[in-house]
């Protein structure tokens, strides 16, 4: 893990716009910056553009206009073959988990290590440890179809953090779990944040945001970042 000094911007959006095909802009003039080592909520009502903003952050899309700078790299000027190296520094927890149904929990979590060419002996050592940490020590060989929603979510989180990313993006990570598990996951994210990982948790769960009221938030509404509440953050619009 190559954590940056806290305070430097790990990600910056300048007047970013996004449209799908010839449709209307789903993101308009989005401008903000997230300091390294920070922990933010990304809030907003359903359909506000949270997932689209996250997709831009995890390089699943390129903006239609504007500038996205990630790890000091202007994405518009980054060659396609250079993107995997940047993506490996990002962990993503997808809203629908996106686990591979034909693989076991262990193999799903091992994926980020396998694409990096990590030795199988290392994988067999670290992945069970992490799965045990998220309470799935007895589900190593289970396929996602046999797991509950909460268990799938924990596998998805384990997959996102196994590579010790610099930036962790989680889309509604507590959406399918009960309050107890949701709190455990949030504490897990806080632990990771203390270790230096920058974290963005997208949620429309106001109760959760209020429970962690000390954390800053980026609020998005109608495709525009309307409010940023953070003492150490850049300006919003």
């Amino acid at each position: 893990m190559r954590h940056r000094p806290r305070g430097e911007n790990i990600i910056r959006f300048d007047s970013v716009g996004l449209r799908y095909g010839l449709g209307p802009e789903v993101l308009q003039d989005v401008t903000f910056a997230l300091p390294s080592g920070s922990f933010h909520f990304l809030t907003g009502p359903s359909g506000a553009g949270k997932s689209s903003l996250l997709r831009l952050m995890y390089l699943g899309l390129r903006p239609t206009r504007g500038r996205v700078v990630l790890f000091d790299r202007d994405i518009a000027n980054t060659k396609r073959y250079e993107l995997p190296a940047l993506r490996r520094r990002i962990g993503v927890v997808f809203q629908d988990f996106r686990l591979l149904d034909h693989l076991t929990a262990l193999d799903n979590v091992a994926l980020p290590l396998r694409v990096r060419g990590v030795r199988e002996s290392e994988i067999q050592k670290h992945v069970p440890e992490l799965l045990a940490w998220v309470g799935l020590a007895d589900q190593l060989g289970a396929k996602p179809s046999t797991l509950s929603g909460g268990q799938k979510q924990r596998v998805a989180i384990a997959r996102a953090v196994i590579g010790r990313p610099d930036l962790l993006l989680a889309d509604e990570p507590t959406g399918n779990v009960d309050d107890h598990i949701a709190m455990r996951l949030m504490y897990l994210f806080e632990e990771l944040n203390k270790l230096g990982t920058t974290i963005v948790v997208a949620t429309h769960n106001e109760l959760l945001v209020q429970r962690f009221a000390h954390l800053p938030r980026v609020h998005i509404e109608h495709g525009t970042v309307s409010r940023i509440r953070d003492s150490g953050m850049g300006e919003g619009n």
Binding site: L59, R62, R87
Partner: protein, 296 residues
């Protein structure tokens, strides 16, 4: 290559069911074409070897009352002329009985043609290293012996060689077309597989997999299916070629030279499954790279 980890569930794809059979058919047809090309090459080489170093003198029969004796005299003169040519090793005239025997396979009983005036043949063997001026020898021969002409078989052989070479090129074209069809099928199968597994590919992509990491998995699968299909095709081709060889040996007698496949032919046919699998692997890899290059 085999046993490498794969994140994509390609084993259950439709491609896994039809590609081996298609490759088997392609390898079978390619084996036939390659065997044909090698056999033809062998035949040409043998004809060339048999014919080079020999000449044939044809002596037309004389007319008149003593036609037979006059023709014999012409043959004797022609033999004398040819024996004096430097580089000639042996001269052997065929008598009328031997000439009739040569016609027998085509005409059946030679009783009906026994009284016809048949041209007589003289078989001339020359030293393969000798440089004969055939035009000069031919002129000398026809000057000395009325009705005698020299045939060095070149016109006949060159036409036959041209025909054989055309057939050989046709075999090469067939093999290339078979390769193209195999590639097109692999492209279609790979694109279908990518569409079916789009979600998984996107996840791999987003967690930082290089294009080649994904392409390798499709390529490995295509190779495994190609080699399985190729071996099936080879398994079908070997008995078929054996049967054709057996049937050919039964009709060879005098009309065709021996239709044996040279060692190189066996090696080429044995390599076809590997070539087909390699082609499938390369095609799959390039197809995946081409398709992924359109992803962000």
């Amino acid at each position: 290559m085999f046993g490498r980890h794969s994140d994509l569930p390609l084993a259950g794809d439709a491609t896994s069911r039809f590609l081996p059979w298609l490759v088997a058919l392609m390898v079978f047809m390619a084996s036939m074409a390659v065997a044909g090309a090698f056999v033809i090459n062998e035949v040409i080489t043998r004809w060339d070897r048999d014919v080079s170093g020999t000449l044939t003198v044809q002596v037309l029969p004389a007319g008149g009352e003593q036609a037979e004796a006059a023709t014999d005299e012409r043959v004797r003169l022609a033999v004398d002329v040819m024996r004096k040519v430097p580089g000639v090793v042996a001269v052997k005239a065929f008598d009328k009985r031997r000439t009739l025997a040569l016609l027998e396979p085509w005409l059946g009983s030679t009783d009906v043609v026994q009284d016809l005036p048949l041209p007589r043949l003289i078989d001339v063997t020359i030293d393969p290293g000798a440089r004969l001026d055939l035009a000069e020898v031919s002129e000398r021969l026809s000057g000395a012996v009325p009705g005698a002409s020299l045939d060095d078989h070149r016109v006949w052989l060159s036409r036959l060689v041209n025909l054989s070479r055309t057939v050989q090129w046709l075999a090469v074209v067939v093999v290339v077309l078979i390769g193209a069809v195999t590639s097109a099928t692999v492209v279609y199968g790979t694109r279908t597989g990518m569409a079916v597994h789009h979600g998984i590919i996107e996840v791999l992509h987003l967690i930082g997999a290089h294009d080649d990491y994904i392409a390798r998995q499709f390529a490995d699968r295509a190779f495994a299916l190609g080699i399985a299909g190729g071996l099936m095709g080879l398994g079908m081709a070997v008995p078929a070629l054996t049967a054709i060889g057996w049937a050919a040996r039964r009709v060879e007698g005098g009309f065709l030279p021996s239709l044996g496949l040279p060692i190189l032919g066996y090696v080429a046919i044995g390599l076809l499954p590997l070539l087909a699998a390699g082609l499938a692997m390369l095609t799959a890899r390039l197809t995946v790279h081409g398709t992924l290059s359109r992803m962000p």
